[in-house]
């Protein structure tokens, strides 16, 4: 039995210290998922905290044969999807939110080419903003696939979808992102094309 399973078992028996170890281990992936889903660090922090609280309250329902990581990311994804759906119906439009592309990734000034690094950062921020235009479930699938290397089967389990639905959602999202990228950045790609290979 590894440490994680032991912590889960102890936490299920009521040990808050063991659950704290799980929070320590999974805070980064959970926060990152929430950040990619919600787009703002403050909302991501709140959602990540709420995810862990929900996990704590529902720990007795956790099936020990599954990966704890998949389970907690599934809680986070569903929470963020719900929150985005509520937000969509609330008075505050998503367009009124911070459009500055708030990000916690700061380009390293000591990197060999700060200009290129800064351009990359700009592209990442733009991509981060484009993610906001995807459907909530599609966004969760994209984040799980590309940030966590989840297989389509794992995404399907986490989001309660079929594998073919996940595949089709991923393809649809990638196409949508590419189309938005073209609109957002029509002049940038010839420059980049001359510098580097885009294929794989």
């Amino acid at each position: 039995m590894n440490d994680e399973n032991a912590w889960v078992l102890q936490a299920q028996r009521g040990s808050d210290e063991a659950f704290t170890q799980l929070v320590e281990t999974y805070q980064k992936p959970v926060f990152n998922l929430c950040y990619r889903m919600l787009g703002e660090p403050e909302a991501a922090e709140d959602a990540a905290q709420e995810t862990f609280l929900r996990a704590y309250q529902n720990l007795h329902r956790y099936d020990n044969s599954r990966s704890f990581g998949t389970w907690i990311l599934s809680i986070a994804a569903h929470y963020c999807i719900d929150r985005l759906r509520k937000r969509r119906f609330s008075v505050l439009s998503i367009d009124e939110e911070d459009e500055d592309g708030l990000t916690l990734e700061i380009p390293d000034p000591a990197s060999p080419d700060p200009e290129a690094e800064s351009a990359k950062q700009e592209d990442r921020d733009r991509l981060h903003l484009l993610l906001k235009d995807l459907d909530e479930t599609d966004r969760a699938a994209v984040v799980m696939r590309y940030w966590y290397d989840y297989s389509e089967v794992e995404i399907a389990q986490s989001l309660h979808l079929t594998v073919s639905a996940v595949k089709s959602r991923l393809h649809r999202s990638r196409r949508a992102l590419a189309e938005m990228w073209q609109v957002e950045k029509p002049r940038a790609y010839p420059e980049r094309r001359s510098r580097e290979s885009l294929a794989f």
Binding site: G14, F31, A44, R124
Partner: protein, 174 residues
């Protein structure tokens, strides 16, 4: 422009041969859509994981403490309101009887005494009947049937105890 098979390669992250790679490079030079598809795919794969601000676990612990206190407070208020509501309901139901009792206590006291006497005599009669049945039944049932019956009762008792134990040891969250 026909994007096949390039779009398929890019969307499924399929491994390509050097020849296919050259074909893809050539296509990407002329196709802005596939170029955007490749670029966004590469960006998605290389974008870093964002970390929460330091002290996340301490903030979680504080939040958990607050949530537990709020839950306890909510449960306490819930039970207080439930008890008060129940008492008010009981008072409302009993108020006509209380009023009539206060108006004529003698009638009520004689009715209660009569009822208690009736209850006592009924219980005595039932006990007598039970004694008679218990003295007669063993002769009707063979010892084997008694064993089966007692085992069934013991089994049901055990099942009940185990389910109560499982319910009690199951963590109930905050």
């Amino acid at each position: 422009m026909n994007h096949l098979p390039f779009e398929n390669w890019l969307l499924n992250d399929m491994p390509v041969t050097p020849e296919q790679q050259r074909e893809l490079e050539l296509h990407l030079r002329n196709c802005s859509y596939c170029s955007a598809l490749a670029e966004t795919g590469k960006m998605l794969k290389t974008t870093k994981i964002v970390n929460p601000a330091s002290g996340f676990t301490a903030r979680f612990q504080a939040r958990l403490r607050e949530r537990k206190i709020a839950d306890r407070r909510r449960k306490l208020w819930g039970s207080v309101l439930f008890t008060l509501g129940g008492l008010a309901f009981l008072m409302w139901i009993l108020s006509p009887y209380v009023v009539s009792f206060v108006a004529s206590p003698a009638t009520w006291i004689s009715a209660i005494v009569g009822w208690l006497v009736f209850l006592g005599t009924t219980l005595f009669a039932l006990a007598d009947a039970g004694r008679v049945i218990l003295s007669v039944i063993p002769s009707f049932l063979p010892p084997f049937a008694w064993m089966v019956l007692l085992s069934m009762i013991a089994g049901l008792g055990l099942l009940w105890s185990v389910s109560i134990w499982r319910l009690v040891r199951m963590p109930q969250g905050v």
